[in-house]
């Protein structure tokens, strides 16, 4: 029993990292209807920002954390300006947005490899590595803090979307961008805000990921899993992204723990495909028409 609980905690902790990353994908998808693959690049840059703020400038963790989140938000906003807005102005097909996003993601990865270097970096220790012990079960301090920060960030996001006027505008833009424009919503501004929010979440995810593991140019690769989790939960749905991520984390962990770690990805993804066959729009997805 304690082994099962320990595995559940492992799964929740892995899932909460996926969730923080997946929400960014879903947020942009709900408005723009395309998968922003540059999101992984923003997460990676966020992680590097946090790292250099803490090591080169020796800022305390809290300051570095906030600055990295803001920096990643700015990066995401400028990406939107440079890589997506020109396409949007000319009503380019969605495929072009995806190509542009992939280009941006490869660009970010390579610019880091070329300037900072391909080797990985380690964050200085902020929290003690002694875990909290509950009988046989141990919970890492960093895990607990990550879970907390992820939870607070996601709740703040939900608050912005559900309780503010801007949030209302975001929801209406997600429903129909053309109708919202007709109703007087400044959709350019909404898209700007959505990318900013997604970027801030990416920065937070990047710093937390970097602290827990390491920082390296291919962090974006991990975000593929969170993208899959977002699809599984239903792209465009925020609760879907969170639930999909947590489920993916738990399924992966339990597969590794109770069946076979060698076949973990195989079994976990067969399950996911089965779910998508049963519900093509994902667990909580509302959008059913075929979009990229």
């Amino acid at each position: 029993m304690s082994a099962f609980l320990q595995q559940m905690i492992n799964g929740l902790s892995i899932g909460s990292v996926y969730a923080l990353m997946a929400v960014g994908y879903s947020l942009v998808y709900s408005i723009m209807n395309f998968s922003n693959f540059a999101h992984g690049g923003v997460i990676m840059i966020g992680a590097y920002m946090g790292f250099f703020l803490m090591t080169a400038l020796e800022l305390p963790f809290a300051v570095a954390f906030v600055l990295a989140a803001i920096g990643a938000g700015l990066l995401a906003v400028s990406l939107e300006r440079i890589a997506y807005r020109p396409l949007r102005k000319r009503n380019a097909p969605f495929l072009y947005f995806i190509i542009s996003a992939m280009g941006a993601s490869i660009f970010l990865e390579n610019i880091v490899v070329a300037t900072i270097g391909p080797t990985f970096r380690t964050y200085p220790k902020v929290f003690s590595s002694t875990p909290f012990q509950f009988g046989q079960i141990s919970v890492g301090r960093l895990d607990a803090i990550m879970f907390l920060i992820s939870g607070i960030s996601l709740m703040m996001l939900v608050y912005i979307i559900e309780k503010t006027k801007t949030g209302m505008a975001i929801k209406s833009t997600a429903y129909s961008i053309r109708a919202s424009t007709l109703m007087g919503v400044n959709t350019d501004r909404i898209i700007f805000i959505v990318f900013g929010l997604g970027g801030v979440l990416a920065g937070i995810a990047g710093v937390l990921f970097g602290m827990k593991y390491t920082v390296y140019p291919q962090i974006g690769f991990i975000t593929m899993k969170s993208f899959i989790a977002a699809v599984f939960g239903g792209l465009g749905s925020l609760p879907g992204a969170v639930i999909g991520s947590i489920l993916l984390g738990v399924i992966e962990t339990l597969t590794a723990g109770y069946f076979s770690s060698q076949y973990r990805d195989l079994i976990a993804f067969i399950l996911l495909i089965a779910v998508l066959i049963w519900r093509p729009s994902g667990l909580m997805g509302k959008i059913t028409e075929d979009k990229a």
Partner: protein, 398 residues
């Protein structure tokens, strides 16, 4: 129009950045480091070297090339080999197997080398074997540990490939033997990378040897290259309650998994192979890996290697990397083979290489005619104590 121009500019920048950083430039001709001398057959004999002088592994390649040049200079000062002077010609492979093949082609056809030293990487060493065979020139790899470097897919030994380091499976057997016979552990667990030949080779032979010696493998869990979280596997390993946990992979994953293992309360002794030694490992996981054991090629503090280390450092003002020690032994092996062959004919040197036996600085090297590997070569067992690599003993698997 302006926007279009801007977009074009951005796309051009993206494409250019890909071209520049995505793939390193690969000119067709390998870069010549030392110009070959003209009179090949009068007084001077050419020996070739290949390895990475640029790129990720440049620090290792440069150390090898420096070592090889330094040793042959010494040999030349003492009258040369069989009365002739040796000229070393080295080419950069940039860590690329295609470049290695080109370089070996040029060395064997144009520079008429009698033997080749290097490369250090298994991928390149495997790629050049057909050229060596075609040109009938023997090659001695330095740190290429993959079994396939000297043996083809059907288990036949490749006639012109040799090496001076032990192979991956042997490391696994040494680790198992040491864990069982010296440390007295009977319950072992393994965590390994399912997508990596090196990790699989070590795992397979650790498991086999440990079981043969009467031990029990209580858990064997896999992960895939690129994973950063190992807790699901480690939680399962914890349930099995092993005395020793074998982790045959590289230092980054080793550091992450060691930290996570301790976090989950696994108190088993950790063991790793030659992928571990690194300053980064200590920095990332100092407390977690305290008391762990590593199987390595040699002990850096061994009295036998101090002379070489001092001479090298005095000459180049650089520390000696692991590769330098094995390049040193490759030169000693070649020197011995040429003396035994009493000839600079490359086929005669090859025949002599099959039975070479010299005391190298990384241990006694007895090349086996059946495998072209140094048989029964001692491995060095290193223990991590207070964040330092402390030599324990030489150990060889029967």
């Amino acid at each position: 129009m302006k926007k279009r121009a801007f977009f074009l500019l951005i796309s051009t920048v993206i494409i250019l950045s890909l071209l520049v950083t995505g793939c390193s430039p690969k000119p067709t001709e390998p870069a010549a480091i030392d110009e070959p001398t003209e009179d090949v057959d009068v007084e001077v004999v050419n020996v070739g070297w290949i390895g990475s002088l640029t790129g990720d592994q440049a620090v290792w390649g440069n150390c090898e090339f420096n070592t090889v040049k330094m040793l042959f200079e010494e040999i030349n000062e003492n009258g040369g080999l069989l009365g002739k002077q040796i000229n070393v010609i080295g080419y950069d492979t940039r860590g690329d197997a295609m470049e290695a093949v080109n370089a070996v082609r040029r060395l064997t056809s144009q520079d008429k080398i009698v033997a080749l030293i290097g490369p250090n990487a298994s991928g390149q060493a495997i790629a050049i074997s057909s050229v060596l065979e075609e040109m009938k020139v023997p090659g001695i790899a330095t740190v290429a540990t993959n079994p396939k470097v000297t043996v083809d897919d059907n288990g036949q030994v490749k006639p012109f490939n040799f090496r001076v380091c032990f192979i991956d499976p042997y490391q696994g057997a040494v680790a198992a033997g040491y864990a069982k016979d010296v440390l007295g552990f009977t319950k072992a667990a393994i965590l390994y990378d399912v997508a990596d030949d090196y990790s699989q080779g070590l795992t397979e032979f650790f498991e086999m040897t440990f079981k043969e010696k009467g031990g029990e493998i209580v858990a064997k869990e896999g992960f895939k290259f690129g994973d950063v979280d190992f807790r699901p596997q480690l939680s399962k390993i914890k349930e099995a309650n092993p005395e020793v946990l074998f982790m045959p992979y590289f230092f980054k994953e080793a550091a992450l998994s060691a930290n996570q293992a301790r976090e989950l309360g696994i108190d088993a002794v950790l063991m790793g192979g030659d992928g571990w030694p690194s300053e980064v490992l200590i920095e990332m996981a100092k407390e977690a890996i305290e008391g762990s054991y590593i199987v390595n090629h040699l002990d850096f503090a061994d009295p036998d290697v101090q002379d070489f280390k001092a001479t090298y450092t005095a000459k180049y003002n650089l520390p000696v990397e692991l590769n330098g020690y094995l390049a040193y032994d490759a030169v000693r092996v070649l020197e011995q083979a040429i003396q035994n062959a009493d000839s600079f004919d490359s086929v005669a040197i090859r025949d002599a290489l099959k039975t070479v036996s010299v005391k190298g600085i990384t241990g006694q090297i007895n090349i086996s005619a059946d495998t072209h590997n140094p048989e029964g070569k001692d491995a060095a067992i290193i223990k991590i104590v207070d964040g330092d690599y402390i030599f324990q003993q030489k150990y060889s698997a029967e």
